[in-house]
Symmetry: C4
Subunit: 219 residues, 4 copies
């Protein structure tokens, strides 16, 4: 099952990357992992129990718990979406081995929308049957995907910040792959005008696709 | 007291694990530690003081504080449960030294339920005398344990992702051990139908068992 | 100002500490740092603006902001207290170089009370003039200090988990030092019965003492 | 675009920095990164949807979402401000390679105001048209900048904690650079008395300036 690709050596750190550039990149990755971990864990704050009259818990608690199901669904969906984008971020930085200011700002802009996810998730959990909630959600996730693509295009253009040994093919494959989630989320906005449940199926397809397609053993 | 087992060398990183696989595994472990640390710390948000009439703090504050005791109990319980699962996660990844996509997704699913714990904890803190609250809590914790067992079975099957030097016995012992918490939590659901306090005793036994049994000095 | 003590070499990692024990200790320290960082940052959630009537912001906002001053004071106090305990934790683990299960559980119990701090801080911010709020706060912080002392006593007893080269004097000095904050917080409870402001002065003394006394350049 | 400066070697760790001092500094940086990541991610909790009457979501949700725009603006502004200060912190600690107690306390004081940012951000999001909200926000951010400058002055004075090879010029350039954000935020307070929108333009200039000026490839 785990095929050890012979291409793996392309991503061992190249000679000539300074101690400091490596260290700055490590802090950036660490900071990003922290934001991902916090945003994903804050999602649970959206799953609150509706208020119950004092004294009537034994009759009202079961239905109050059932009423949280749409919020639990939104929780699970966003948890997996953030997780998938975290893996995509890992995959992207797998090839990046240099650091510059523009990379740091693009990454920060990317994280700005990642950390925002609890907001559209809360709206979706409360008003999942409303078109505007679905659009807000899909648009946020599409922007995240587009920013990650932009980050990759910036880093890989003319081998700006990536490993020298990376082939053109590797770069193109990663570019194409990074375009799949934002395209799917943008498409789901169009679909939502016809059918909200169909749009949500498109979201689930994003995970299936990202879980299935894995050319490299690590990424 | 600290016996240095001669078996310890089985878990020093093997030759042939690439720089990148190690690095991907490190980010996964780091991300998991982050989610654990945040989920465990968010629990405190469930411990809120009931509202007090302005001006009557000197008479009402003591009883308002007493009213938080069930929530403090639920806080402490969940803190220790998450802590115990964190240690079990550490023990599991102690033996894993390879990374693949399926491992990452199983781990993410595991974390999805870890990060959810503040929700059933809040319900238990508010309605600890209700059967449905007890079942929700025990079921969430059983699922977490089952997912960790599944992750270990996946990783250890045919030495898929574990150290080559690991013996069959080590693998079986770890499998058995990982099954104890979910079995206890599932059993507590049955017990709860007879007696809620007895079910909670079963939960506490999970820690006692996991604190007592420690075949290896590190794990 | 920064004297490089020749004693520093006592805490370089000794030979014979396994790769795995070091790694388990690193994850424990990392997890603890995470809990500290999150607990300290969650404190801000206690600083909320009182509700203002729509339309009257220009007249009511200044006084609403003034009304947050006690909560800001409680925020700053707890931020510094958690920070001081974080430094004390760092100092303690500076000398610890072995890992066992009991250490992990003592550390978890210690973190249970660290992560709880936002609760007594919120109570203090809202009802700082009430004796019971002051006692709750001081008791929580005393328990944290006592648990850190217990952890150190466990780790240093018969050189159980500390560096072999550590002298008896080093161990006694660290033990004494770790006793100062809990003793001060316990004393402040007695003082509070006479005067709440005097008790709060005792809290501030904890920082002053811990900031001033620093026998070792690092710790 | 990425010029590899020959000056970079000035910041490779010098000989003679002990294992322990490096480790203490690493924990301090790690803890700071954690506080930054959490504070930046907690900002989203300020972006809540106004309550909507049950049953009228289809008519009221769009306007409720529009009503969150000022809060989204405050979110994005503070996200970028914290991000910019995080980069400035990274830049500052890029040159620091020794650790002492005073540095730890100055850093803690700096983090106290960083972790506070969600509070003035919430006030600004709710009452962005009020002078006092603008002053509170600008003052908080000015204090953060001043504390980072103070930390740098302390660390660099007489090469107290910085690399020996650092030139006077490097130190002066970093000092000047660290003074820009607090001066801009202080100036914006004066500007706000004349025009609140003009003050906000000054804030945006802080990013533009900090994004543009980058003498060193890493920092």
């Amino acid at each position: 099952m785990v095929k050890i690709s012979t291409k793996k050596e392309t991503s061992v750190p190249s000679e000539g990357v300074s101690y400091h550039e490596r260290r700055a990149l490590d802090r950036l990755i660490f900071f990003s992992d922290g934001v991902f971990a916090i945003a994903i864990t804050l999602l649970v704050l959206n799953v609150a129990l509706p208020a119950i009259q004092p004294g009537s818990a034994s009759t009202d608690l079961p239905s109050a718990l059932l009423a949280t199901v749409p919020r639990l669904y939104a929780y699970a969906l966003s948890f997996l979406v953030i997780g998938a984008y975290w893996m995509a971020h890992q995959r992207t930085f797998h090839y990046i081995e240099r650091y510059d200011h523009t990379l740091a700002w693009l990454n920060l802009l990317f994280l700005l929308f990642v950390a925002l996810i609890p907001f559209p998730t809360g709206v979706l959990g409360a008003y999942g049957d409303q078109l505007v909630a679905v659009i807000l959600y899909a648009a946020t996730l599409a922007i995240i995907g587009l920013l990650l693509s932009a980050l990759w295009l910036y880093a890989s253009h003319n081998d700006r910040l990536v490993a020298k040994m990376l082939t053109e093919q590797d770069i193109h494959a990663t570019t194409l792959r990074s375009a799949v989630p934002p395209v799917m989320f943008l498409a789901s906005i169009g679909i939502a005008f016809a059918s909200i449940p169909a749009a949500e199926v498109a979201w689930v397809l994003v995970f299936v696709l990202s879980a299935v397609r894995r050319p490299h053993p690590v990424a």
